[in-house]
Symmetry: C2
């Protein structure tokens, strides 16, 4: 079940309502990532207080621990994690990349030479073939096999509102030849998932094709031709922001207007603006919580700038006696109650509490940004808001 209604447009940017099993959400929206059935360091009560509309969990991790059957026995993922609002699950396909070529190539979905924030080079523990993905479990090193059948079966048992087809997320350093071959497989798996899908969960197809125009267009046409409830755009997204924007332009031009569009795994401020501008409705990203644990807090302009990624490094000694909240413009509970010096102190003393506080603020920051973006589109002022943020 998925009913998508576009409620306003400003250029290609659009607001909408997306009806799912557990409720109706407003788009554009960002899904905080609850990989293992919890957003790291956050309680479900925190996320409700933040008015998060939808979360996304991870099939690969949950099928290994606690196992799909356990979750099903307990009444599904919503009950399991105490979340009565909409949920999504990815298919496990992204882990074919993150545990495979991402390690071998030492890259994220977009390849920036010298990017320090990505994985170190390591040994791949995922191998893909036309039949499926052979994984090693990160928990007990057991051999695991994921194919469209298992992915759909697991996601059915988990029971999220919105599920994804199994695909291969290629590496931005993969060759065109490899990417082309992989795309064929991804398309075949998409058809297979569609055939196997028998629940009232919304099924989302995924466009791949790396940073090659012909492959992205071929994929956009093919996935659009199938009766999916929504369409996601998967990585790799090339070697620069420009590549990513091109990929979005080529792809979205060929997508049906009436289906919701999800840009997978992307969710930093700059990218959100560029993607919403091009007609993206959904995002998911681990960044707000991941950077929180590393000591970065999001801040709004003018303090937050594109160049500094709208972040301050709160562990810096310059905040050692700073009585201001993380972001003086922010109205979240953490900014109302705590100072930079206190948060700096909790980092210096390695106190777990701080992961909760900064994650809470960072998620608030992005959800508030999404609320502001929706409002701006309704008022036909999206470009004004974008300019205010991006200059």
């Amino acid at each position: 079940m998925l009913k998508f209604k576009i409620t306003s447009k400003d250029g290609k940017a659009r607001t909408g309502t997306l009806k799912l099993k557990h409720g109706t959400i407003k788009t554009p929206e960002l899904m905080p990532v609850a990989t293992k059935a919890t957003v790291r360091a956050m309680t479900s009560e925190d996320l409700k207080e933040l008015d998060s509309q939808i979360l996304i969990c991870n099939t690969y991790h949950l099928m290994l621990k606690p196992g799909a059957d356990t979750v099903k026995k307990l009444g599904g993922l919503n009950k399991f994690m105490n979340w009565d609002r909409p949920l999504a699950t990815d298919s496990g396909g992204f882990q074919a990349f993150s545990l495979g070529l991402a390690k071998e190539h030492s890259t994220g979905k977009i390849y920036f030479p010298g990017n320090k924030e990505i994985l170190k080079k390591g040994k791949s523990i995922a191998k893909i073939s036309d039949k499926g993905i052979k994984f090693r479990s990160v928990y007990d090193n057991s051999e695991q096999f994921l194919d469209p059948k298992r992915s759909i079966r697991v996601q059915k048992k988990l029971g999220a509102d919105m599920i994804l087809v199994l695909d291969e997320c290629t590496s931005p350093l993969s060759s065109k030849e490899y990417t082309k071959k992989s795309l064929k497989r991804t398309h075949r798996w998409a058809e297979e998932c569609l055939k196997l899908h028998k629940t009232n969960q919304a099924l989302i197809g995924i466009v791949q094709g790396g940073h090659w125009r012909d492959l992205r267009e071929e994929s956009a046409r093919f996935i659009s031709s199938l009766p999916f409830d929504g369409i996601a755009i998967g990585g790799s997204l090339g070697k620069s922001k420009k590549d990513m924007h091109n990929i979005l332009d080529w792809t979205i031009a060929l997508l049906p207007d009436k289906k919701p569009r999800h840009l997978l795994g992307i969710g930093v401020v700059e990218d959100i603006f560029e993607a919403v501008k091009r007609g993206i409705d959904l995002f998911d990203c681990v960044t707000p919580t991941r950077i929180a644990r590393k000591g970065y807090a999001y801040v709004t302009p003018p303090l937050g700038t594109k160049k500094r990624k709208y972040r301050i490094k709160i562990t810096s000694t310059k905040y050692k006696e700073d009585k201001k909240p993380l972001d003086p413009n922010c109205r979240c509970r953490v900014c109302k109650n705590y100072t930079r010096v206190y948060i700096n102190h909790l980092f210096k003393t390695s106190e777990y509490t701080v992961y909760n506080l900064v994650s809470y603020h960072n998620i608030h920051f992005l959800l508030q940004l999404m609320r502001d973006i929706r409002k701006s589109i309704r008022k036909k002022e999206f470009n004004k808001l974008k300019k205010k943020w991006m200059g």
Copy 2:
């Protein structure tokens, strides 16, 4: 400022009200420990939701990080940590033990041979002399010196409602000769602290003397003779529960009725009952949060038994598919919202969220126990409650 009023008695057990700068608390009560200005993995909002009346922070840690001057500049500890209710600080004296002889002797305040829950043998980083305590900082290994003057000065700057005199907590494995010598010093420091004390903070004297009757009695008489606002009983508490009960009996018999009595660093269920029975009003203990992080959740009888320390090990595989809350009798937010299987899962996947959830439940458990104890004393049913719990 400290006004203590006994409001009801049942045998030697008593309820009271304790008026402090930031409010009036009901006793007997347990203070969750916020060593470095946070109760580990908990927010101040969590602790207010739990209706915690008072917290205790640590002078040694806070004078090193962020430093007493920083805290003072920010308006004191209450403001610093977003806590508008009463606060206590210990004097730093306990660290002379925990960083000193506790490591050399590999013991806690009560010595149980083979106790696995205590520190491993290690090198002492605290040396005590008549002048004061020479410490190594656990943060940067710098040499630090703490004497009555610095302890009182630091505690004044921190600005808690209730502060403690500098003492030496001896080891249960120290000789009588050493303990006697140490007691003289502790008494001299108590007088010194009293002379130096010039604020409206309540100043608490500490009775020491190990597990020797004559020393404990000497100390109880001496500390009682001084104009402290309240009296604490410090460790060591001997080599058995029996030793601890004897020490309480000998000491309390000589304490003035009208001053509040704090049993330092003790707070497991069995000890709370035995101490309240003998007339103790205040407790502080890291156990609820420390055991939470190790996977232990408190449970009420009949599931919780004295033999099993009123705990279940939630990481055990037997809870892998258990839909019940941590404690089926508990009404805390965590027990209302989460199951054992989910909490078991969060431990197995090393998710930070779980430290918050189980700490929250464990603190609720103890604060609820204190509420039930106060109620039972008012109704002259303390022994009935004790029997229900302890058999």
